[in-house]
């Protein structure tokens, strides 16, 4: 199935708007007050600290984890054998859930960045880091045979096909 880029964006944004309104208080409050400067500084300090300790979590890095045997669906079969069915199942489900949440959040951020920059470049973010299609193609290929109802598959298909 081929869909145009514009239609794909429309679908993505519709989906994300729905996602936002269900998961965030962003659109619901009208009584926000501004944090003190010290609290804002603390946010910056913590972000710097995370950066120093854990570095950039790039798509490549995420993908490396997505395909590592502990997390990935196929790899989790290894773990399932090692740990037994019950524990392996639990781990597999948790890994899938975590992965889905994280990728959806990243997609959300990418779409926001791209729609605000408006440059239409699908492969590169403003800071030059390669994005999206490598990850989505990989997810698409991984999920297409066995997980067609999985949200990650839906997302990947929309971005990849």
């Amino acid at each position: 199935m081929m869909i145009s880029r514009e239609f794909s964006w429309y679908l993505s944004l519709t989906c994300l708007f729905s996602y936002h309104t269900h998961t965030s208080s962003y659109y619901t409050s009208h009584t926000h007050r501004k944090l003190d400067d010290h609290a804002i500084t603390l946010i910056k300090r913590y972000k710097n600290s995370l950066e120093e300790y854990f570095g950039d979590v790039t798509d490549d890095r995420l993908l490396a984890f997505a395909v590592n045997p502990i997390l990935a669906t196929e790899g989790c079969d290894d773990i399932q054998v090692l740990l037994g069915e019950e524990e392996g199942d639990d781990l597999k489900n948790r890994a899938e859930k975590l992965l889905a949440e994280s990728i959806l959040k990243i997609a959300d951020k990418l779409l926001t960045d791209k729609s605000s920059s408006g440059n239409g470049d699908d492969n590169e973010s403003p800071n030059g880091m390669l994005y999206s299609f490598d990850v989505y193609s990989c997810l698409y290929k991984r999920y297409r045979n066995t997980h067609i109802h999985h949200p990650l598959y839906t997302l990947a298909r929309r971005r990849w096909e």
């Binding site: 409050s29 501004k34 913590y46 854990f54």
Partner: protein, 254 residues
């Protein structure tokens, strides 16, 4: 196992504990701080950067450095002291120490005074130096006890070195800002095989949360006093944002 063997994690490691500085934790930690590259990890360590260890310790260090609870020294001098937090934390500890003394003599008086007005009093836990996330627990427990401490100081014990109204407000904001960071420390502290694998995803979520989360639920220290027995999640809150523009946008939308 191919994916993990390339970074030196072997089948046997799956069954080993992943805590503190044990070899499996170091291998998993190397994956976190240097993408599994042993040489890069060694180079970072030599430059005073993060060294591979268990994820919980890395999370705690990131947390501790932001607050300057973990000290960095150069030439014998601390170079990362951050006064806004350190000064508040010092006063907070002084206040908590006063009512949570080791022999509990002062605590019993405090508890009796609160029982006299049918209010709850509990011992606020002091953080130890290695588990800096404990600082956040103390902040939450102090906020729960705000009404009790304020009553005790104003009616029964004027010697209690209570923090000022402005400090309570700042404490509540610091607590709210640090809540996701605290969650990371707890999420990745389990001594289980899958934690090392999940921790990068937890980090992704945390980083995005700090990039995107424009609204923090801050305990409303101006609200009517609450009993210290109230759970932290039930305390009254206000929504606060670091971004005025975003706040105005919200007002337009609503």
């Amino acid at each position: 196992m191919l994916g993990l063997e390339r970074v030196g994690i072997e089948m046997e490691d799956i069954f080993r504990s992943v805590n503190d500085n044990c070899s499996t934790a170091v291998k998993a930690g190397r994956l976190i701080v240097a993408g599994g590259d042993e040489a890069l990890a060694a180079a970072q360590k030599a430059e005073g950067g993060p060294k591979p260890a268990c994820d919980m310790h890395l999370g705690s260090l990131a947390f501790g450095l932001a607050l300057s609870l973990v000290e960095r020294r150069r030439g014998g001098r601390v170079i990362n002291r951050w006064a806004p937090f350190q000064d508040l934390f010092k006063d907070l500890k002084k206040m908590v120490n006063y009512v949570s003394d080791k022999k509990n003599k002062r605590f019993h008086k405090y508890k009796e005074a609160l029982e006299g007005i049918q209010q709850t009093a509990f011992l606020i836990s002091m953080p130890n130096s290695t588990r800096v996330a404990g600082a956040h627990i103390m902040m939450q427990e102090a906020l729960r006890s705000k009404g009790a401490l304020t009553y005790y100081q104003s009616c029964k014990c004027q010697e209690l070195p209570i923090i000022s109204k402005e400090q309570w407000k700042l404490l509540a904001q610091f607590e709210a800002v640090l809540r996701p960071a605290m969650k990371l420390c707890f999420d990745i502290q389990g001594d289980r095989v899958e934690i090392a694998g999940e921790s990068v995803l937890a980090l992704v979520r945390l980083k995005i949360e700090y990039e995107e989360e424009e609204v923090y639920e801050v305990v409303d220290t101006d609200a009517d006093a609450w009993d210290a027995g109230t759970s932290f999640s039930s305390l009254p809150t206000i929504k606060m944002t670091p971004n005025t523009a975003r706040s105005l946008l919200d007002d337009d939308i609503s």
